[in-house]
């Protein structure tokens, strides 16, 4: 399907439009907020703690008087960086494992298949905990954990697709014509599996945002000097008894962003290759690992 | 049981798939419906059954004896299926529930319409399996679809379609998914059962050679419209419409001949 019409189909559907629209908003905030926010996101003002929403503080203030709106906006940069880095890591890990597991001699294929089956069961958060125990918590830990966790899933999902494409006539023809394995991969296999990867990338980024939120909440993600939606949730949690509804803003931000990625992934899948539409479920089908 | 279809129009997603088709089958009569893929033949059967896709709209009339079927709710249509109208679908690999036994599936119409108990259902299922020539009927009722061959599965489907003695049988390419030698056997079985019971038959196929083995009269569909109708012999020897001529040419390419 030609790229132009494909893109139009994605943006045309209501869910796709929402996904693209919200992510565009987040992207703008992510790029702009390090340079400008209505107020300093880190400035504390104990006398102004727990102010309700007003024209000065759109989302009110928190326990130490920080402007929640500015903080949430500033944290979008963290979210964007984590999402992009995790997505890239997931793709690299996924493609590597998938290619190793499908276009290599039999013994390698089988070993990788077993490895993938075993690794898929590992909850992302345990990977993160292991890394945090070794290196201390950080956003890097989040990215590596989410990236490898979802990367293995991408490998599993795309391995079958790569094998299938590898058997198609045009690939066999290319190999018969003497095109080397790498050439076959880059010129024939990858472009055809690309729509699948686009969807998986979207889901990987969604998963990584949830992972960052959870790990920052636990204290092993973003550091105190970094604005993070997850950290804000953790800060506000102590006061839930007294100020229960302050948590709405960071939570909604996370939810809407994750939702946007999920919907975008769905829209891309529906607009692209019809083979990717949901088939009748068979016992072999499994959804991706959820963080 | 007579079936008369009058000026039937079916639209699917805004596109017309059946445009003004009219045909009729008298009590005990057999009619073939032939055309290439996409001509609307399967849709006609589904319209009679009330099992068109959700997105389909239907206009016109389909009368079963005196009953009007167009516009019936699913709840009103359902009791007619199985008891008055039986159907044999095309692909025996997918028209059987993979996780239920053969016997339970054959007997299901009886349990739905006659409310019989499990023991009697099993006995009737074994009887039906024997009637369609399945090997070891008492054993086969306890097996699962994946354990049977394609031809055997299609016999199961035929047994199921006829077990509640419907007076109208619909068949949608019942042998297309089978290999050539099995095809002949199953077609002969079909013809025999329908003859014995005096059931009316609407038989859909794209293959004239198959058609002439089962029915004497046929209607030709093309792009949702009825283009020619008449005795099969006439259609084969003096096809009037170009579509019919094309079908005749295709059938002559089939390797086996009827005796």
């Amino acid at each position: 399907m030609r790229r132009g019409s494909w893109l139009r189909a994605v943006v045309g559907s209501p869910t796709g439009a929402f996904g693209v629209g919200w992510l565009a908003l987040v992207a703008v905030a992510a790029v702009a907020s390090p340079f400008w926010t209505p107020l300093d996101p880190f400035a504390t003002d104990p006398y102004a703690a727990w102010a309700p929403p007003s024209t000065e503080h759109l989302f009110g203030t928190d326990s130490v008087g920080r402007d929640v709106f500015s903080y949430v906006a500033r944290a979008s940069t963290t979210t964007a960086l984590v999402a992009l880095a995790s997505g890239a890591t997931a793709l690299v890990v996924g493609v590597l494992l998938a290619v190793l597991g499908s276009l290599t001699p039999r013994w390698a294929r089988d070993s990788v298949a077993v490895l993938i089956d075993v690794l898929v069961a590992f909850p992302t958060i345990l990977i993160a905990m292991a890394l945090a125990a070794a290196f201390g918590g950080s956003l890097g830990v989040v990215v590596i954990a989410a990236g490898t966790g979802y990367g293995v899933n991408i490998a599993r999902v795309s391995r079958a697709e790569i094998r299938r494409v590898g058997r198609e006539d045009y690939v066999l023809a290319a190999r018969a014509a003497g095109v080397g394995a790498l050439g076959v991969v880059t010129r024939h296999v990858l472009p055809n599996v690309a729509p699948l990867f686009a969807v998986q990338l979207s889901l990987a980024m969604a998963t990584s945002i949830l992972a960052e939120a959870g790990l920052s909440f636990l204290g092993y993600g973003a550091s105190a000097e970094t604005a993070s939606w997850g950290r804000l949730l953790s800060d506000l949690q102590k006061f839930i008894g007294v100020h229960p509804w302050s948590i709405v803003w960071p939570g909604a931000a996370i939810t809407l962003t994750v939702l946007a990625f999920n919907l975008l992934g769905d829209a891309v899948r529906d607009a692209g290759d019809p083979r990717l539409r949901p088939r009748a479920a068979t016992p072999a089908d499994r959804p991706g690992v959820v963080s | 049981m007579s079936l008369s279809i009058d000026d039937l129009h079916v639209d699917l997603g805004g596109r017309p798939v059946i445009e003004g088709v009219s045909l009729s089958i008298g009590d005990g009569e057999r009619l073939g419906l032939i055309g290439e893929s996409g001509s609307g033949k399967s849709m006609t059967l589904l319209a009679v059954l009330g099992l068109l896709p959700d997105a389909a709209t239907v206009r016109g009339s389909i009368r079963l004896d005196d009953r009007e079927l167009v516009g019936l709710s699913d709840r009103d249509h359902a009791p007619l299926r199985g008891a008055e109208i039986g159907v044999v679908f095309q692909d025996p690999r997918t028209s059987l529930d993979p996780i239920r036994t053969i016997g339970s599936q054959i007997a299901e119409p009886l349990r739905l319409h006659e409310g019989i108990g499990r023991r009697e259902a099993r006995a009737r299922a074994i009887e039906a399996a024997a009637e369609v020539g399945l090997p070891d009927p008492a054993g086969i009722v306890d097996r699962y679809p994946h354990q049977l061959s394609g031809g055997q599965r299609q016999r199961v489907v035929i047994a199921t379609a006829l077990i509640a003695r419907p007076r109208l049988l619909l068949a949608d390419e019942p042998t297309t998914a089978l290999d050539v030698s099995t095809q002949a056997e199953v077609l002969d079985l079909f013809r025999r059962l329908v003859d014995e019971r005096g059931t009316s038959l609407l038989f859909v196929t794209h293959d004239l050679a198959v058609l002439r083995r089962v029915v004497d009269h046929a209607a030709v569909l093309s792009a949702g419209r009825l283009v020619e109708q008449g005795p099969v012999r006439e259609l084969l020897t003096r096809p009037a419409h170009p579509v019919t001529r094309g079908l005749v040419a295709a059938s002559e390419a089939t390797t086996w001949r009827t005796t």
Partner: protein
């Protein structure tokens, strides 16, 4: 069937081995001197040296691993570096909270996800089906900790029915009180897991709706909805069972976060604390336990699924 089970058992054992190697290797990747890092700036050279011997750092890394793995086989997970208590005992203690929490969450997730998923498929062109489907999409995007906090705010603070924190000190001696402490946490995890299950069930049910055998069943004399429930649903259920193994991973994630949020004395919360204290021996044991549980459940689910599906039986059996 025997062959399949044996094969899966090998895969399970392999998974445990790979997990143990990865966990051990990752934790030993500490930059700098392991013992020094753990002892911190306050440790005296004597303490550091003692820690060294305790961790067996003077030996090769392979023999260190074999030591630990050997202990695992005897179910001896070593002793805590901070308190010296046996790790195995502590974990067993905390499992009494984590396992019931996970089980309850799974049940709630199934109760929410499966029926609503089927409903969303049956009513897919009506507002109800769309609403359920959209709701599930939104719910699947909600971070578990936020869901938990909202529930706490809603129920415990505004409506005051259930405890918001903690677990009875006497543990399960008063089962009712213990269960009440687990309700909110389990609902939190269950809601998010249920949303995932709902989307899967809906897609499986939609596939069944189009299936030939469902249409053929309706052709025997029942309405299409009834055909879907009677024939489509059992096949859908079979698919759902196959997915449960993966769901357990999500439950573990949920448990770690939720135990922290609700201050439940479970393995997850202990893990979080131990990572902070760099108590490597305990962390190893906790990670290994949780991973083993996930792998074990996956194994059991695979075997059960295979034994229930008639297609896996040998011909002529």
């Amino acid at each position: 069937m025997i062959r399949f089970t044996a094969g899966r058992l090998v895969l399970f054992a392999l998974g445990l081995v790979v997990a143990s190697v990865l966990i051990f290797a990752t934790l030993r990747l500490l930059p700098g001197d392991v013992a020094q890092v753990i002892a911190g700036t306050t440790g005296s050279p004597a303490q550091v040296a003692a820690l060294r011997t305790e961790l067996g750092l003077d030996r090769s890394i392979v023999s260190q691993y074999l030591d630990w793995a050997g202990g695992l086989l005897r179910l001896d997970l070593g002793r805590s570096l901070v308190t010296g208590t046996p790790v195995g005992d502590e974990i067993a203690d905390k499992l009494a909270v984590t396992l019931p929490l996970a089980g309850l969450s799974l049940v709630i997730g199934l109760l929410i996800g499966v029926p609503l998923g089927v409903l969303a498929a049956l009513r897919r062109r009506r507002p109800l089906g769309t609403a359920v489907s959209v709701g599930a999409q939104v719910l699947a995007a909600v971070p578990a900790v936020w869901a938990g906090m909202l529930l706490i705010a809603l129920v415990a603070v505004t409506l005051r029915w259930l405890p918001t924190q903690g677990f009875p000190i006497d543990g399960w001696s008063d089962p009712a009180a213990a269960l009440r402490s687990l309700v909110l946490p389990a609902v939190t995890i269950g809601l998010v897991e249920g949303a995932v299950l709902l989307r899967f069930t809906r897609s499986a049910a939609l596939g069944a709706l189009d299936a030939d055998y469902v249409r053929a069943a309706a052709a025997k004399g029942m309405t299409r909805d009834r055909a879907l429930v009677r024939h489509g649903l059992p096949n859908v259920m079979l698919s759902v069972v196959s997915v449960l193994g993966i769901q357990v991973a999500g439950l573990v994630v949920g448990a770690v976060l939720v135990e922290q949020l609700f201050s439940l004395p479970g393995v997850g919360r202990m893990l979080v604390a131990d990572v902070g204290r760099r108590d490597l021996t305990k962390v190893q044991g906790e990670l290994m336990t949780l991973t083993a549980i996930v792998l074990a459940v996956g194994f059991v689910v695979d075997v059960v699924h295979r034994s229930v599906d008639p297609r896996s039986r040998e011909r002529g059996e």
